[in-house]
């Protein structure tokens, strides 16, 4: 078999397994962090520090009774969680997880595919993610589910606009849509958050909204909509919805680290005197450290802020973030023109 093809297949499996593993332990981390922030203890019964809790949760989910409402559309009802999970897993493909690994003189990049429209692919897949929720809410044939799904889709579509516009300002500076190339550029220059602080702020707010995390967790709103779009779901189908949210969080953290915080690069990496594979491994570790910091921020915000009201959410999306993103594009253009003339 072609070694490159074999390598890609292995990398696919590894990325898939790592995202699932990290998402599983994020559920543990979330519960533990929530507990600590609220001066509680958190899960500590299953294994040391409750570390086997995700496994126990998984077993619990599988053992639960499978309920499909009689009035629901059975095919779509089953399709929705699969779809949501699929789109969550698809986004990891374009992220550069580190520098290349050299074996027998051949360099294998730590990225499954460096398509030249990587950012566009990312936005596209994220938009498809809405379908999982929408189909799920619609197929349940329940008004709470439908309300949750409507909220989710309008929220995600609204914030995608601002997110896309924030990324346009970034793309104007990078001149490329390839994530691998953007990561390489930040090796040579500074991390893009230095040039795009407002863009990053808009992007992180939109990322919160896209992943349906607090304070933008209106689609779920367990207090008003009893779970929103997944009210009627049970057993592992519910597990898929909840789990995909964590995968989404992991991937958006990876995207933020890659686009704005230098990706796998770290300061003074070439002054250490490390070469080749050792450096690559350290770079991967650094990238994961950055991702974990973003995941921590995701959880930290969730356990700090209360949920938005629906009109506030829409006001923020359309009346604040959208104009800000447009202004950001404008000022980025002016800045690039002026500095381009100077430099």
């Amino acid at each position: 078999m072609d070694p490159i093809l074999l390598y890609k297949i292995i990398l696919c499996v590894v990325v898939f397994a790592v995202s699932l593993g990290i998402a599983a332990y994020m559920t543990w981390g979330e519960r533990k962090l929530a507990a600590i922030l609220q001066d509680r203890v958190g899960p500590n019964r299953a294994g040391p520090f409750g570390l086997l809790q995700p496994i126990a949760d998984g077993i619990k989910m599988f053992m639960k009774e499978e309920m499909i409402p009689g009035a629901s559309n059975r095919f779509l009802f089953i399709l929705a969680p699969c779809f949501f999970m699929l789109t969550a897993c698809m986004t990891g493909v374009v992220i550069p997880w580190g520098g290349g690994i050299t074996i027998d003189g051949v360099t294998y990049p730590m990225q499954i595919t460096d398509i030249n429209i990587g950012l566009l692919y990312l936005l596209g897949v994220v938009s498809i993610g809405v379908y999982g929720i929408m189909i799920g809410g619609w197929a349940s044939n329940n008004k709470y589910s439908l309300m949750g799904a409507l909220r989710a889709s309008s929220q995600m579509i609204s914030y995608e606009v601002a997110m896309g516009l924030a990324l346009i300002a970034l793309v104007m500076m990078t001149g490329t849509l390839s994530l691998g190339e953007i990561a390489r550029q930040q090796d040579e220059g500074l991390a893009y958050v230095v040039y795009q602080p407002l863009g990053f702020l808009i992007f992180i707010i939109c990322a919160f909204a896209e992943t349906n995390r607090a304070p933008f967790d209106l689609p779920e709103s367990e207090s008003e909509l009893v779970g929103g779009y997944h009210t009627e779901y049970s057993s592992m189908k519910l597990g898929f919805f909840l789990f995909a949210e964590y995968i989404n969080m992991f991937i958006s953290s990876a995207v933020m680290a890659t686009l704005y915080f230098g990706g796998y690069n770290f300061p003074f990496q070439h002054e250490l005197g490390l070469e080749g594979n050792t450096l690559s491994i350290i770079q991967t570790v650094v990238l994961f450290a950055k991702i974990l910091i973003f995941i921590f921020i995701f959880m930290w915000v969730r356990w700090t802020l209360p949920r938005f009201r629906y009109d506030q959410l829409m006001n923020l999306g359309w009346k604040v973030l959208l104009p800000l993103a447009l202004a950001n594009i404008f000022f980025t253009g002016i800045g690039m023109y002026l500095f381009g003339k100077l430099g």
């Binding site: 922030l37 609220q38 001066d39 509680r40 203890v41 930290w300 915000v301 356990w303 700090t304 802020l305």
Partner: protein, 201 residues
């Protein structure tokens, strides 16, 4: 005139520009939650860790035996009368010949039951007992899965002959002083009640 100095003026001013931005307030809130990362949790992890209880703690009851190992309770019913929660019930029986080693008095409790769900652990039964038979101990009533199991009979209440339950911790100097003329005290209050009732009629 203000009755307290806690009244606060209602703020009707609209938000300033920096307040409308919300970001400073959000950051402030996040700093507050962040400081909680370094706070010690007050939780006591129960089965492994136990809360320290007072030496005079009022927990699960015990029916004591005397020095010879005979039950002290004579089923007088004073504990049941004293009980504000009406948790105690009993049935008395006459001691037969040859049972002197089992029961201290001629009358004994055939059935003695305390409903631990009704009991409020006030210790009035202990105070009422003229025979120093019932005591509250520093044992905690364990949980079970149904209500019936919370009705403790003599099998759970009477101490075993081999492992007597230590109740000396509750015998503080004040308690001993109270017990000095205990019988007298109870008779007096009982008689007082009757005379007062008669006077009312």
């Amino acid at each position: 005139m203000a009755l307290t100095n806690r009244a606060q003026k209602v703020q009707t001013a609209s938000l300033s520009w920096s307040e409308k931005l919300y970001l400073p307030a959000i950051l402030k809130g996040m700093v507050i939650t962040f400081t909680h990362l370094f706070k010690r949790t007050p939780t006591i992890k129960y089965p492994e860790q136990k809360r320290e209880i007072a030496p005079v703690y009022r927990g699960q009851h015990v029916l004591k035996r005397d020095e010879a190992g005979a039950e002290r309770c004579t089923a007088c019913g004073l504990c049941a009368v004293a009980c504000p929660a009406e948790a105690i019930t009993m049935e008395s029986a006459e001691r037969k010949k040859g049972e002197e080693g089992l029961y201290r008095e001629e009358k004994y409790a055939k059935i003695y039951e305390i409903n631990m769900l009704r009991c409020i652990f006030c210790g009035l039964c202990e105070e009422a007992c003229p025979k120093e038979a019932i005591f509250l101990t520093d044992r905690i009533v364990p949980t079970t899965f149904n209500r019936g199991e919370f009705i403790y009979g003599k099998d759970k209440l009477v101490e075993s002959k081999d492992e007597p339950v230590d109740v000396t911790k509750r015998q503080t100097p004040e308690v001993l002083d109270f017990k000095k003329d205990k019988k007298h005290y109870h008779n007096r209050t009982f008689l007082d009640k009757i005379t007062r009732k008669k006077a009312a009629h």
